[in-house]
């Protein structure tokens, strides 16, 4: 939105074309990558030795329980080779002078005493170093050396000397690292550097620190080895942690049997200056419970929480599953005291359950530590004169998403407030596109060349000749196809694979195959130094086919395709075989059989790679225009952002009115002025020439693929009898159709009594002025109506904030009211915890009920007065309550729009089990869908607040713009191809293709549209003439590989 408001600050000098991103955690990394994808030059500053931040310290991420480094490392690798990104580690931003468009950033860089150009990250220096010291990456729970890399897969992998521990800098004569370094990279004379960087915009992503013992009421808890923080637990569970992934913290004589998770340690604690909620502590605890419950030595797990805040995407279903586990019990109360019971006898945990004293014994207590903005972030905010809130979080300009109080300086991630990873990633993308507006406008996107009809790629006769879109033959990079030289890399993945499977034996064994020219192990194949080494080995040894035996191709195949690209080989010549998820992780108790299976799988992969086709690049032209479905908050934000950046946008709204929630009443705290926002959008819609808006229009059909979606729209204008058909072609599509508020039919007397309203009804009535409670005495609100149950197991996220805001509004207007809110957990997460405190101060009361015994509601009369009687049971005691009110307000669920199913089938995008649109990856691809070129934003993805929808709209716009400005995309064609000589035109393939990628011309052979083909292989499996083959899974390879796999 700031992009449309050109302010009066003429730059002090010429506009600089670089964006400086401060902070190399998940938010900073994504901001840098997104800005670079949008065509800008980026400098990324990181205070520590390498990128990754706290996310690199996590073992598994919630809710998919992906290994954190596995989803992060594919994002780390682009930094090593991206022409537009420069990474400076051990760097601090000291100051920023100038104004938006022409900043000068003063940066200091600490010396590593290791030459980054020469260091290959081999680690010989660390192995030779005689000095052991506590490892800060492992929270000082284990040792590292005076010279070290941050963690094994770190980027940059350059090692660095900490002069506080290094003997050389203490005056002693030690040069062991220099002696063993194979490239002579050690440089004791390196000096700190000071640089002035010119930047057009700055993005701050300084992140957070966990609280420590000085911040909590009971610092002595940390003296017991039986008490750890949640981050320490991540390190203990991690294969690169102090105990190599075995949950046996030092100081305990045996692995723990009874675990207690203590929530809100230091959070929601005004007395100690942290009144807000950390936002992720409950999700993290649930994840930890799921992971530790699977350990055989764990017998019992207790979660002690005041409220369990499972408000995130998919969090509530996760919570329901965890709660149902036999080993797990939930206690409604905060841990009050932890008493050590003498040497190695564990501790006693004192808390309360539902108000009554409660205690248990525990071997391990995991504290959910609160968080605050990092030291570095606080220092920078102060140095730059930014407005912050009382807790140090940077303040964002009203109605903006990522803009700080200083023009040209943006923020994202935990520096803005307690945050989950998906939110941080979305904010990072939003910051990238917002910052880009500060630089000179990039050249308007040009449409790519329209393709000629493609002839089918190579047949059996000429396996190494391939055609591109215009019919020219592409020669291979590898000149001689006479002899296959297969290289096999067997990954140890730390101890994840090597702990079960003897990877050295596998590497030795595979050399028996005559065409295997090279075989070796890697500790972590995905680390930067490993990928560089692999590319070098491929070139040196003349390898022309590669097999990587490691983890899942879903996450890592692109990594190894990059390695091949670096080595000059086409991407089709690498295959991965999964000996981790499919072998070592599931057969950890049978190592002998696991080894046999790994070898069988590997033999099968060798057969695949022998039959592999090159899959040369195809050219996808990109039309620089977009379709936005819906006119919600997210839709309008994205549409305007794209249009401002040169993209022609068509906004299609099926109803009569714009704005979704914006056209409804809203009382939110912290205040969002919905009126102003709505009027701002309307005026911008009218004045942005690249934006077209169609009302009463629906999407009827969609063909084609990324860059070239052919749409058919149907528009029913007022007074017209028949619908008008409109054809359009766009490059990308955004689904932002919003969601609905559930109106219960005859639940809690809704519909029977005029005194029972939904929160939406109440807001509308308050705005119209039809709420008159001057004679009323009592009000009750019921939370979680229609949510968090069997039918809708998700949490609708914004209703606790909304109920509290409405209750405060009512109390302000009618101070005599007694207002009670009946809840199952109060989920005022993050900074909204502050309004929960305000509500209690105003005298609003909060009582609990549970799902099994919901309130019983009856409309009644008191003489001539209509009232509503509510009765419910207290979940934790024998007691029950009875209330009689003049107004009952139901906080009902947010439900997916009924048009979702129809849209999903036209666009072929998946829906979640609850009917919302499903993103490609919860953590790192929160606005993309499984179909390339189709994006989602706003409540159609999951329930969220208006501010969150604004951010997601910006994030989607950033992703779309990065694609739409490409002109032509070149990528490997891992697609199906039909041999016209064998095809009998039975059309079975057309019937099964989920992507509708097969063209059936009136005359001539059937053709696969390479842009639309997803490479699923259904057509190849279905074809009775065996006329279809799939690059990437060639049938010949699969058939030849089967005997090895099944007859081991």
């Amino acid at each position: 939105m700031a992009s449309g408001l050109r302010r009066n600050d003429s730059p002090c000098g010429e506009t600089h074309q670089t964006i400086v991103v401060v902070g190399g955690g998940v938010a900073g990394m994504h901001a840098a990558l997104q800005a670079a994808d949008l065509g800008h030059s980026v400098v990324l500053l990181e205070r520590d030795l390498a990128l990754g931040g706290h996310m690199a310290q996590l073992d598994k991420t919630y809710p998919t329980l992906d290994c954190s480094l596995c989803i992060l490392s594919p994002r780390l690798l682009p930094f090593g080779r991206h022409p537009r990104i420069r990474v400076l580690v051990r760097a601090r931003l000291e100051n920023v002078e100038g104004c938006a468009g022409s900043f000068v950033c003063t940066v200091t860089q600490e010396p590593a005493f290791v030459n980054a150009q020469k260091c290959i990250g081999c680690g010989s220096c660390a192995r030779a170093c005689p000095v052991e010291r506590p490892d800060p990456f492992n929270l000082n729970l284990g040792p590292t050396k005076a010279i070290r890399s941050l963690y094994p897969q770190a980027f940059p992998s350059t090692h660095a000397i900490d002069r506080r521990y290094c003997l050389h800098f203490q005056g002693e004569d030690c040069r062991r690292c220099a002696e063993v370094c194979p490239t002579g990279a050690i440089d004791f004379a390196e000096r700190p550097r000071v640089m002035d960087l010119e930047a057009g915009a700055v993005i701050l992503a300084g992140g957070f620190d966990l609280l420590d013992r000085r911040d909590i009421a009971h610092p002595h808890w940390f003296d017991s080895p039986h008490v750890v923080t949640n981050l320490a637990l991540e390190r203990y569970l991690s294969a690169t942690g102090p105990t190599r992934g075995v949950l046996h913290p030092r100081g305990l004589s045996a692995p723990p049997r009874h675990l207690v998770f203590a929530q809100c340690v230091g959070s929601r604690d005004p007395v100690h200056g942290v009144p807000y909620c950390c936002g992720y502590g409950c999700a993290a605890a649930l994840k930890h419970i799921q992971l530790t419950a699977a350990l055989p030595h764990v017998e019992r797990i207790t979660l002690c929480a005041m409220d369990v805040r499972a408000h995130g995407r998919d969090c509530e279903p996760f919570f329901r599953r965890v709660q149902a586990m036999d080993k797990v019990c939930l206690v409604h109360g905060r841990v009050a005291e932890i008493v050590p019971l003498g040497t190695d006898r564990g501790v006693e945990v004192l808390a309360s359950h539902g108000g009554f004293p409660w205690r248990t014994h525990a071997d391990l207590v995991v504290l959910a530590m609160g968080m605050r903005p990092s030291e570095e972030a606080l220092r920078i905010a102060k140095a730059l004169g930014l407005q912050t809130d009382p807790f140090g979080f940077v303040r964002i300009k009203e109605h903006h998403t990522v803009h700080t109080s200083r023009d040209g300086i943006y923020a994202c991630g935990a520096f803005m407030g307690p945050k989950s990873i998906p939110s941080a990633v979305q904010e990072a993308c939003a910051a990238a596109i917002a910052a880009g507006a500060r630089l000179t406008a990039l050249p308007e996107a040009v449409p790519g060349a329209v393709p000629e009809p493609a002839s089918s790629p190579g047949t059996e006769a000429a396996p190494d000749k391939t055609t591109d879109e215009s019919g020219r033959i592409q020669p291979h990079q590898a000149a001689s196809e006479s002899a296959l030289q297969i290289g096999v890399f067997v990954c140890r993945c730390g101890t994840n694979i090597a702990g079960v499977i003897d990877t050295a034996d596998v590497a030795r064994w595979v050399k028996q195959f005559p065409d295997v020219a090279y075989a070796a192990e890697n500790l972590f194949s995905c680390s930067t130094d490993a990928t560089i080494r692999m590319a070098r080995i491929i070139q040196e040894k003349g390898l022309n086919r590669i097999v990587v035996a490691a983890c899942s191709p879903r996450s890592h195949l692109p990594v190894f395709q990059e390695v091949l690209a670096k080595a000059g080989l086409p991407p089709g010549y690498v295959r991965m075989v999964n000996i981790r998820e499919q072998c070592s992780w599931v057969h950890a108790d049978r190592p002998h059989e696991a080894l046999v299976k790994a070898k069988a799988l590997l033999a099968g992969a060798l057969a695949h790679v022998r039959a592999a086709r090159a899959a040369p690049p195809m050219a996808l032209p990109i039309t620089p225009s977009a379709l936005v479905l819906g006119s919600s908050v997210a839709a309008l934000t994205a549409a305007l952002r794209l249009a401002d950046n040169g993209i022609h946008v068509l906004v299609v709204e099926s109803g009569d009115t714009f704005g979704g929630r914006l056209s409804q009443a809203y009382f939110g705290r912290p205040e969002v002025n919905v009126d102003r926002l709505y009027r701002h959008f309307l005026s911008r819609l009218r004045t942005q020439p690249r934006l077209r808006v169609l009302r009463r229009t629906e999407l009827a059909d969609c063909r084609g693929s990324l860059g070239h979606f052919q749409l058919e729209l149907r528009r029913l204008s007022e007074g017209a009898s028949a619908a008008e058909r409109i054809q359009e072609t766009v490059g990308a599509i955004l689904i932002a159709v919003g969601a609905d508020v559930w109106k219960p039919a005859n639940l809690y007397a809704y519909g029977r009594s005029p005194l029972v309203l939904t929160q939406a009804d109440l807001a509308a009535a308050l705005e119209r002025g039809t709420v008159d409670l001057t004679q009323a005495q009592r009000v009750l609100m019921i939370q979680c109506v229609g949510s968090r149950n069997e039918e809708r197991p998700y949490c609708s996220r914004s209703c606790c904030q909304q109920a509290v805001s409405h209750a405060l509004e009512l109390k302000e207007r009618f101070p005599q009211l007694h207002i009670t809110i009946l809840h199952r957990d109060m989920r005022t997460y993050g900074l909204t915890e502050i309004i929960y405190e305000k509500a209690r101060q105003a005298g609003i009361r909060f009582l609990r009920y549970d799902e099994k015994r919901p309130p019983r509601v009856e409309p009644t009369r008191f003489g001539r007065r209509a009232t509503v009687d509510i009765r419910w049971d207290d979940p934790d005691t024998q007691g029950s309550f009875h209330e009689r009110v003049d107004l009952l307000v139901l906080s009902t669920a947010t439900v997916p729009s009924p048009e979702n199913r129809h849209l999903a089938s036209i666009l072929r995008v998946p829906l979640s089990a609850d009917g919302f649109f499903l993103e490609r990856h919860v953590k790192l691809a929160p606005v993309e869908t499984a179909v390339e070129g189709i994006f989602i934003a706003g409540q159609c993805h999951s329930p969220k607040t208006i501010s969150e929808a604004l951010v997601q709209g910006d994030a989607a716009a950033a992703k779309m713009l990065a694609v739409l400005r490409q002109g032509t995309l070149h990528r490997a064609a891992f697609v199906a191809s039909i041999d016209p000589g064998r095809c009998s035109r039975c059309l079975s393939c057309v019937a099964v293709c989920p992507a509708q990628a097969i063209r059936v011309p009136a005359a001539g052979p059937l053709r696969v549209d390479p842009g639309a083909c997803q490479g699923c292989g259904l057509c190849a499996a279905e074809c009775p003439s065996r006329a279809i083959d799939l690059a990437g899974s060639e049938e010949d390879g699969l058939l030849r590989g089967m005997p090895s796999v099944f007859c081991a």
Partner: protein
């Protein structure tokens, strides 16, 4: 989970709650912190009386004050068991001064006739004697070899003999 402070499972009528009760308590010392409570139960968890009497709950007393349950609170014998150690006030993350509020409750209980003034005085005197007895018992226990220390009951008898001759 622990008996309610009333022995049967009764239904609490919120509409008959006495709003004036909460107001009066709020006006007493520490009472301004009363509305802040978010029922985390930290006070109950760390309370030394709660450790030996699992029906004693400062958190529930706070809740009942806010619900206006005057008779239930002021008529309960439990408010006289509070040690006034202030562990609750110290541990409360919201700064609710339960110990001070409990003092207000005792005042109100006497003033409104739930407990007569003479009994209240007697209780105060008993607390004082108990404090002296406690110190005597602990000092006796300290002087002995832990393996041969007599039981607490025996120590109490010995201390009583010391105190009263």
């Amino acid at each position: 989970m622990g008996a309610t402070m009333e022995h049967t499972s009764t239904e609490i009528p919120l509409l008959r709650g006495d709003a004036g009760f909460a107001q009066e308590v709020t006006e007493g010392p520490g009472g301004d912190t009363l509305p802040l409570c978010y029922q985390c139960g930290t006070c109950t968890g760390c309370c030394p009386v709660g450790a030996v009497d699992d029906a004693f709950s400062p958190a529930l007393i706070i809740q009942w004050i806010r619900l206006g349950l005057r008779e239930r609170v002021l008529g309960s014998p439990k408010i006289w068991l509070c040690l006034q150690c202030h562990r609750c006030s110290f541990s409360c993350p919201q700064g609710v001064r339960f110990a001070d509020i409990n003092g207000t409750l005792r005042h109100m209980a006497v003033r409104e006739g739930f407990v007569d003034a003479a009994t209240a005085e007697k209780l105060a005197a008993v607390e004082k004697d108990l404090a002296a007895l406690r110190c005597a018992v602990l000092e006796r226990a300290m002087g002995k070899d832990p393996n041969t220390t007599p039981s607490t009951d025996e120590l109490v008898r010995e201390a009583l003999r010391d105190l009263h001759g």
